[in-house]
């Protein structure tokens, strides 16, 4: 136990390694970090306010029929699913891909102690997201209920206990997957596939709920009152029912039952880790090396001369795609987001025989100006929303780390290098949003009778939206890059500027969306004319942002030493 605590303390400090700089620099750095954190908190306040209102209103609405507990069920379930989905990539990365694994494996510690320490650190980071959503919700709920001290104490305990079980699920599945596929030669590829598989699994199993009662039974339970619906939503987290009871009914016994189940699950997880972790982790940092001579033909093909821009862009893309941490955190989500929507829809369709995908499409009538406007608006929103998934431009300077000096060594103007970095983000963004949208629109043109002219504004608008979002993230990364890191994980996962960029993306995306929607109402122009004006506006905004960021970037890279 002592070694576990020691490891946890050390890992926690190295996880926040950016703070370990020397005195004067450290003070200035910490002051800068503090300002950023304060700014971040201010930015997060509006969302917290909304979640607070949601908690309050959920109580007010559901308490009328004596089912206020269902509000707690939904909040706990949503928080567990969030921890589950975020937990998979985090745990696979932390358990198997960080640079410290080989240094830890030769220490005289047991596998469960390493896994336990890494699990605890991951849990602490998970608290950041789970508290962010759950704390205001519970505050709103508790204030509306006029709850006493017992409720608040139990709430605090539940906030700490809640993410444990989802992370245990992630941990067990990760360790088993990595052990099963241990013999795979390309370990980078294996890791990425494991994460995609486990994400699909997470979305799949979290979509399976117990809420498939016959209408009559559900109605009966609803009318019964006394929180009879509580626990129905829990799906793969059956033990949540005890935590919900503990908080809603202030039941200490239920809390102890939940605590015991959670503790047992952690023990089982550590036992599995003790037997399987080393077998999966050994050799994880090795890379396949064929040591085969390249043929003269292949060598000549690879040695064809390319332009500087093309060479730099290829280098960026190769490094992004081949580094599992970069791929999973910066690239993967751009491409799999439709999957994350389709899996739950598919499972619901499977559970509910009356549901068909065709119904979903029929809901959107694509004929007539309203339908066309709606489709174009959706394309714009999806493209603007890409900023929430696409972290390529937003980490392109941070990813250089200590090697940032190489940008100044090579005889390539900084402007060209920055353009290539930005372009890599835009290329992936366009491939992950514009391409999907265009496929959807082309199908809609042929199947649902959407006018073909909509393709052009959709294409322009979507590409511009991607450029705008990438440029904003690029600016934030240039402004405050995280260049001091030991493992790639720190460059992208523990990078506060990335969150700031994402918030700016949200604000700008929402601003553009609202403006486009509002102007459509007051200008009363024909849709093709209005779409043309919007495209011109987006083009102008993208152009101005690009020029500003390039000018700032050249100056900023010169300052970075």
């Amino acid at each position: 136990m002592h070694k576990y605590l020691l490891l946890t303390r050390k890992l926690f400090k190295s996880g926040l390694g950016g703070f370990a700089t020397s005195n004067k620099k450290k003070k200035r750095f910490q002051a800068g970090q503090a300002v950023l954190w304060v700014f971040l908190c201010i930015c997060l306040l509006p969302v917290m306010g909304m979640v607070y209102v949601l908690g309050r209103e959920s109580y007010n609405v559901m308490s009328v029929i004596g089912q206020e507990g269902i509000a707690l069920s939904m909040a706990f379930f949503a928080s567990s699913v969030l921890s589950l989905v975020l937990g998979f990539p985090m745990l696979i990365t932390v358990f198997y891909m960080t640079g410290d694994i080989e240094r830890l494996m030769y220490l005289p510690v047991r596998p469960w102690q390493i896994v336990g320490a890494k699990f605890t650190i991951s849990l602490i980071f998970t608290y950041l997201t789970s508290f962010y959503f759950l704390l205001p919700f519970m505050a709103g709920y508790g204030m509306a209920a006029g709850a006493g001290i017992g409720f608040w104490l139990l709430t605090v305990v539940s906030l700490f206990l809640l993410p444990v079980m989802p992370l245990v699920y992630c941990g067990i599945i990760s360790i088993i997957l990595m052990r099963v596929f241990k013999r795979a030669k390309n370990k980078d590829f294996l890791t990425v596939i494991s994460v995609i598989l486990s994400l699909c699994l997470a979305f799949g199993i979290s979509s399976v709920t117990n809420l498939n009662l016959e209408g009559g039974a559900l109605q009966e339970l609803l009318l019964k009152g006394g929180n009879s619906l509580m626990g129905l939503m829990n799906g793969i987290f059956p033990a949540l029912r005890f935590l919900e009871e503990a908080v809603a009914e202030e039941s200490i016994l239920s809390l102890f039952i939940f605590l015991a189940i959670t503790a047992a699950s952690v023990v089982v997880f550590f036992l599995i880790a003790e037997h399987l972790y080393f077998a999966g982790a050994m050799g994880m940092r090795e890379t396949k090396a064929g040591r085969k001579q390249i043929s003269a033909e292949e060598s000549r093909r690879l040695s064809r001369r390319k332009s500087v821009m093309s060479a730099y862009l290829r280098k960026e893309i190769r490094l992004l795609v081949r580094s599992p941490i970069y791929f999973m955190n910066c690239v993967m989500l751009i491409f799999i987001w439709p999957l994350l929507i389709l899996i739950p829809v598919g499972i619901q369709a499977f559970q509910n025989q009356d549901f068909s995908i065709g119904d979903l499409f029929r809901l959107i009538s694509m004929e007539g100006p309203e339908g066309e406007a709606l489709v174009l608006f959706l394309v714009l929103c999806v493209s603007l929303g890409s900023g929430l998934f696409n972290y390529i431009a937003g980490t392109s300077i941070s990813r250089e780390g200590k090697g940032i000096y190489l940008m100044k060594v090579i005889p390539v103007p900084i402007r060209v290098q920055l353009r290539a970095k930005l372009l890599s983000g835009v290329c992936f963004g366009v491939a992950g949003t514009t391409l999907y949208c265009m496929v959807f629109l082309v199908v809609s043109v042929f199947v649902f009778g959407l006018p073909a002219w909509t393709l052009l504004p959709a294409l322009i608008g979507s590409v511009c939206a991607n450029v705008i979002q990438c440029t904003i993230q690029f600016f934030v990364d240039l402004f405050h890059p995280k260049l001091t890191w030991e493992s790639e994980q720190q460059a992208v996962k523990q990078n506060i500027t990335l969150v700031l960029g994402m918030l700016l993306n949200m604000a700008v995306g929402a601003g553009i969306g609202v403006l486009v929607f509002w102007l459509n109402g007051i200008l009363a122009l024909s849709l093709p004319v209005y779409a043309g004006i919007v495209c011109m506006g987006l083009l102008a905004l993208a152009f101005v942002l690009y020029k500003l960021v390039m000018a700032y970037g050249v100056k900023r890279i010169g300052e970075l030493e």
Binding site: K24, E286, T287, K288, A289, G290, R291, K292, Q293, I294, A296, S299, R300, L302, S303, R304, R305, K306, S307, V308, S310, A311, Y312, R314, K315, R318, L319, R322, S323, K402, G403, Y405, L406, K408, V409, I410, P411, V412, P413, G558, E561
Partner: protein, 241 residues
């Protein structure tokens, strides 16, 4: 030729890492840049490379000011860093072609040039693998190959022999001699005095940001009794600076 004229570098407005340094690295010679830890070697090399901007003074590379003609001046340099852990996810051949494209090496004859360098460094069978799978020495070799593909007139190496096996170290020293013999310039920093003694036509010794000696090792020895080792001379020079 590399010329430094009254070059200084001040960090944070107060700390003078390099103070009024002037020296030249002549064509056709191997110049060793020697100094204890924290003497200002890396800062000086970074200023020559254009990574850091000098607070005062001028740096000329083949007559070109690194500040005014940065891109053209950098084209003349082949640089080997002390840390070869860059571009680890690229394959060896991809890295070499990336460097070749960046330094405008013509496509014609490029494959043959890479093959011949790979043979010399015994890297032929490793070019298809990712640099991540290379040992430290192999990473150093691929960086050297990348630095020489465009046949630079100025070759700058920061602690280049660290981690190289004896054969690779021999090849590298041989290449440095060849480079200098063809009338081009070689500047390298090192802590290993024996290497400097065997390889350098000239040494520049820096301590506490000041150049304390520049010239041949023979001339440096003249000021000390016969039989004094280079190590003792070096300690004496840097202690009295």
């Amino acid at each position: 030729m590399i010329q430094l004229e009254h070059v200084s570098k001040v960090y944070s407005g107060t700390h003078k890492a390099v103070d009024d340094c002037s020296f030249s690295v002549e064509d056709g010679k191997i110049t060793g840049f020697i100094g204890p830890n924290g003497a200002g070697k890396t800062t000086t090399i970074k200023m020559i490379m254009g990574i850091l901007e000098a607070t005062d003074g001028n740096i000329l590379l083949d007559g070109m000011d690194i500040r005014e003609n940065a891109i053209e001046a950098k084209r003349k340099i082949g640089f080997v860093s002390d840390n070869p852990d860059s571009f680890l996810r690229l394959k060896g051949l991809e890295y070499l072609n990336f460097m070749a494209d960046i330094y405008d090496v013509p496509g014609e004859g490029r494959a043959e040039k890479i093959r011949s360098m790979a043979e010399r460094f015994e890297m032929t069978e490793a070019l298809g693998d990712k640099i991540l799978s290379y040992s430290h020495g192999m990473r150093q070799k691929i960086m050297v190959m990348g630095a020489l593909l465009h046949e630079p007139s100025l070759w700058i190496l920061d602690e280049p022999l660290t981690g190289l096996d004896p054969r690779a170290a021999f090849e590298l020293k041989d290449m440095m001699r060849e480079h200098a013999a063809s009338g081009r310039t070689v500047l390298f920093s090192t802590h290993v005095l024996e290497v400097a003694e065997k390889l350098c036509d000239k040494v520049v010794i820096i301590n506490h940001g000041h150049i304390v000696y520049q010239g041949t090792l023979e001339r440096l020895r003249e000021g000390y009794p016969e039989g004094t080792s280079l190590e003792e001379i070096f300690l004496a020079v840097t202690e009295h600076a």
